[in-house]
Point group: C2
Chain length 354, copies 2
């Protein structure tokens, strides 16, 4: 007899991208920002370090919520902080989806949604996207109508495309919530500031954000949700009281205050992204118009896994991904937009290995 | 219709101890350590700060697990880190207790166990301790026999007493796990190093530890579980991949390496505790022999709430707690063992307010 819950016993668990701990890698596999965070972060953490670590942090993250709320032009009670948006997604699942409830998400997209549903004992339905990454609207709405949570990463991963606001609104579950996972939102040409929350369907939309990508703070583990206070209040009951620590709160606050720094980095990444897409095209790859800090590419010869392995042998990590669709297997490479130098390295290597 | 899961809709949520954010309080209500953490912590965080925060932390916490494992004389695959032992308890609940399963804990004890069971949709049964804080052994074993998880804080909170190893072993659920919550373990006159894990029932025991108390790192949010690798493996599937951040991992590692610092602080606290208990006795209070960094006290006149309020007016925070037992209401004050000066302040105030 297993001591575990049956779901836990059966599942394999989520596999994050490889994180080699030794240096010397060109690491373009987990969508980290190649640029350092704002210098204000270091200063803020040093100040927090000089304070009292023996005391619990503010369980309400008052200061952080104030600044995050300003960015979204809402009140602080619209904001809930977490250890990375992963923890925010976990809290969402535990707040809204009961065992047996239906949870859905587009497919291919972020595979963690399914893992979290599995842990929760919820049913999970994939909404297969069309080959051009558009929604099968009628079918999507049918599934949404039965869902307690529909997770929509916008821009999507691994494709990098962004769907329109109208499309998102049309997908809000009539008896549940739509989680708009904007992990990559700052990399869009026209970033959102929570406009959808103010739409009529907005009281059933929860926007999630992370500081891991645009704010260059993957190491800090900080994310947050923005939603109507009625929804935040329920999530508040589920989250651990002191989920964010003194140092990460200080870092996150400082990072959010330095919008200029973040925007300068995303601008650089947008430029490099354009270059990467163009050059991949010249090498015979097909790419999706990316609104993120990564590019999804496929090659007509289908030798994606071989290329991933060849690159890895050269200490270049990209993400090889494979999805089972009704029409067959879809695989490809997801390449993080690193520095110009890193991107040139992977492009040169791709040219060499053919 | 509520969008929340019914459990979440109905519950009130856990209320942590008050955390005034302004200074000027004598804060003896949340069992924080009055002494700063090891200076190695600051150095380690500064070093981590000089590194790359834009990169994800090691999802396996390799270095931390190695050092924690050495302390418990086990292999690193016996260790699972978390954001405070609160997160570890959450992970345990989600790994072992399905909706409808029975979860139990002694009562009065740490009330978070019940909150976590509630969120999970598990049934929760309180095992009412005897007035002298001993176990009602027969009844406890009957409840344990039906439990998927039995949480046992040892030493117990709010009483501060510690039960014997034999007693703990006799309570291990035959078809579940016993979570031995040793948040206050380091303050015992004879601290444990996971001896129970090596007993015959040890493969169904999970020890949890926190760095919030003895290591003076409540602000860092770090705890960990030690258990047989078969159990850790299941918990690993449930935890968020990158649950601990680069800075907290560095802080935790440094703190664990400086055992001497931690032990010097716990020794000071043991001495102050003795003094606090003796003086409370002189003021007419009854105390429990504490093996922790707090003292539970009651007064024959039963005016505990009035004293709590009177102290608060003087900017002294202690914890007033109230428990409904079959025999009636039990209430009292839980006073954290602060510095000698803080303890003298609360003692003087108690004398003045009568």
């Amino acid at each position: 007899m297993s001591l575990f819950r049956p779901q836990v016993q059966q599942m394999t668990g989520y596999t994050p991208g490889e994180q080699p701990q030794e240096s010397g890698w060109v690491k373009l596999n987990t969508n980290e920002n190649p640029y350092p965070p704002s210098p204000l972060v270091k200063a803020a953490v040093e100040q927090a370090l000089a304070g009292r670590l023996n005391i619990y942090p503010d369980p309400l993250a008052t200061e952080f919520r104030k600044v995050a709320a300003e960015l979204f032009q809402v009140d602080p009670d619209w904001v809930l902080p977490g250890n990375g948006s992963d923890e925010v997604l976990t809290i969402l699942m535990r707040t809204f989806a009961d065992a047996g409830d239906l949870v859905s998400a587009p497919y291919p997209s972020y595979t963690l949604y399914e893992t979290l549903a599995e842990i929760q004992g919820a049913r999970f339905e994939k909404i297969q996207l069309n080959p051009d990454w558009s929604w099968p609207t009628t079918q999507a709405q049918e599934i949404s109508a039965k869902s307690k949570i529909l997770f929509v990463p916008n821009p999507n991963a691994p494709s990098g495309n962004r769907w329109s606001d109208e499309e998102i609104i049309s997908l809000v579950p009539p008896q549940g919530v739509l989680v708009l996972d904007e992990a990559y939102g700052d990399f869009c040409d026209q970033p959102h500031k929570g406009e959808l929350l103010k739409s009529q369907a907005g009281e059933r939309i929860i926007v999630t954000r992370t500081l891991s990508k645009s704010y260059s703070l993957a190491g800090i583990r900080f994310g947050f949700a923005v939603a109507h206070p009625d929804l935040i209040q329920g999530m508040q009951k589920v989250k651990d009281s002191y989920n964010c620590n003194t140092l990460s709160l200080a870092a996150a606050l400082a990072a959010l205050k330095d919008q200029e720094w973040m925007q300068a980095n995303t601008k650089k990444i947008q430029t490099t992204r354009k270059h990467l897409m163009a050059e991949l095209g010249k090498l015979g790859f097909e790419t999706v118009d990316s609104q993120t800090n990564f590019v999804w590419c496929t090659h007509p010869d289908q030798e994606h896994e071989r290329r991933y392995q060849d690159l890895k042998r050269r200490k270049i990590l990209v993400r090889y991904m494979k999805f089972g669709l009704t029409a067959g297997v879809l695989d490809g490479l997801r390449i993080t937009v690193g520095t110009d130098h890193e991107v040139q390295t992977v492009l040169n290597a791709l040219q060499e290995i053919g």
